[in-house]
Amino acid sequence: MLKALTALAYPRLCIETGRALGHKGAVTPGACVIELENVAYSYGDGALLTQVSLTLAPGSFHFLTGPSGAGKTTLLKLCYGALHPTTGNTLFFGEDVSRMSRDAVANLRRRVGVVHQDCSFLDHLSVADNIRLPLSVAGRQAEEAREDLAELMAWVGLTERAQALPPELSGGERQRAALARAVILSPDVLLADEPTGNVDWEMSQRLLRLLVELNRMGKTVLIATHDLSLIRAAKTQVQARVLRIVGGQVQQAGADL
């Protein structure tokens, strides 16, 4: 099955686009891709996260777990600069986000693929156009990636739904489309929030393999999930660190997971 993945040539897309973006997208060896330094965050009332330090080294694979409402989504949003820490700093590829202009953050965000928990799309564009969207926002011709797009759509099982509008997708189809959109630009980091919450076991294994393959190509991956069986399955394929949010702190989970 893993052979089939390589045979399906999906990695071609990643390598090619990775190379195409290479001049500006290369990670400085040794530098951390994303770093949270002593970050605290609160939505107003009580502190939700206190004293969180997190470093995502290039090529690392992380899982983030914790009970519902612990702050997984919040931590992910801090990681790509959608939220700004109450105290502490967020570093994006070595640069402090709070010192960057909004446009600079926008440009850097093209190197970060994000799958939101509630996957949202441009509801008036087709699924294929939505998955292609990061290409046009980055000013690249959609044409050049046409074959790669087709392969990617096939891999996440959306070929038949390519021309549908997002509101016509099923819950699982939305998640897969969101994942495809997150990886189309072959980003240096992939942050995914419950990317398999609405898909069946087989499909979740298929998506996991895509993430593992990206990781093997040197991409950094962080997945927030409460699905322990997914974590167990991943551990057989890749060296993954499992983080757990407890009481506003990030802990390394024990080997029992």
């Binding site: 926008a106 949202s120 441009l122 046009s136 980055a138």
Partner: protein, 299 residues
């Protein structure tokens, strides 16, 4: 972004970027309609302003442009004093033309009083001189010269009528311009609100674009272009409808001097072309402000 880039993008567009804004919806129709309605009303207001402008000019020209000199004298001196007055007028600056009225003209002016077949010879009727003024006419100076040389001459420069009539025409004109300004302000406010409503309704669009790394400029441009074109389109429609409506108003009855026809004449039509452009400019400024404010708020 500079206004040059704005303008280039506005005219040329960008197929990919344009598509990120949902193409239609009720806020879109609302923008078009608001612009159209305001443009329609603006055409009327402009017509009113222009008509009162013309009216003021005509009254100004008719009344300010002519005076009357009345020469009251014994019949024997009448001809001589008339000659003298005409002579003075010839050398008076600001007098374009002066002539004594013929007996026929005098008779028709007096007809309401004495009937058509009055015998002017039998009456001590004064001789009237019509004076057409031009730039620099000085009634006070003329009066002094006449008093010195033509004792029977009385200058009537219509000042009694001129002031209030002009004031009235100016009032009407002011009302027209006031309406035009009010309508422009309404377009601005309404397009701005419609743009904000659209931006708020498209908060998800903005969030998605942010997520995939779109810059503020990229997002704002698409919205600004969409709204400017909508307002322009609405303005054109409204102006056309307004123009047709004004042109098809019944012509004013002949001989009613004080209520000029409301129609546009010649170059006025060019002025109406400004209405849709004004809509577009106002929409451009309003949407740009609204977009940047919304983007900052949603950041």
């Amino acid at each position: 972004m500079t206004w040059r880039e704005d303008l280039r993008y506005l005219v040329l567009g960008d197929g990919q970027a344009d598509r990120i804004v949902p193409p239609s919806g009720f806020t879109a129709r609302l923008t078009v309609f608001a612009a159209a309605a305001m443009a329609f009303l603006a055409v009327f207001a402009l017509a009113l302003a222009l008509a009162s402008n013309r009216l003021a000019h005509r009254w100004g020209a008719e009344l300010a442009g002519s005076s009357t000199i009345r020469i009251v004298a014994p019949e024997t001196q009448l001809g001589q004093q008339t000659e003298a007055a005409l002579g003075i007028l010839e050398t008076t600056p600001g007098v374009a033309f002066a002539r004594a009225l013929t007996p026929d003209e005098q008779r028709s002016l007096l007809a309401p009083w004495f009937g058509r077949d009055v015998d002017l010879q039998a009456l001590p009727v004064p001789q009237l001189i019509e004076v057409i003024e031009e730039e620099g006419f000085d009634p006070a100076g003329l009066r002094l010269r006449l008093a010195a040389e033509v004792p029977g001459a009385v200058l009537d420069d219509h000042g009694r009528w001129r002031g209030p009539l002009l004031a009235s025409a100016n009032r009407l004109r002011g009302l027209g311009w006031l309406s035009t300004v009010l309508l422009a302000a309404s377009v601005a406010a309404m397009v701005s609100l419609a743009a904000q409503a659209s931006l708020a309704a498209n908060a998800q669009v903005i969030a998605v674009l942010r997520l995939v790394g779109a810059t503020d400029r990229y997002i704002a441009q698409a919205f600004v272009r969409r709204f400017t074109l909508r307002a322009l389109g609405g303005g054109v429609l409204g102006t056309l409808a307004g123009g047709v409506a004004v042109a098809s108003l019944p012509a004013p009855p002949e001989s009613v001097g004080f209520l000029e026809g409301l129609g546009f004449a010649g170059a006025d039509w060019l002025l109406t072309l400004c209405i849709p452009l004004l809509c577009a400019v106002v929409a451009f400024a309003a949407t740009k402000t609204a977009a940047h404010r919304a983007l900052k708020r949603l950041a």
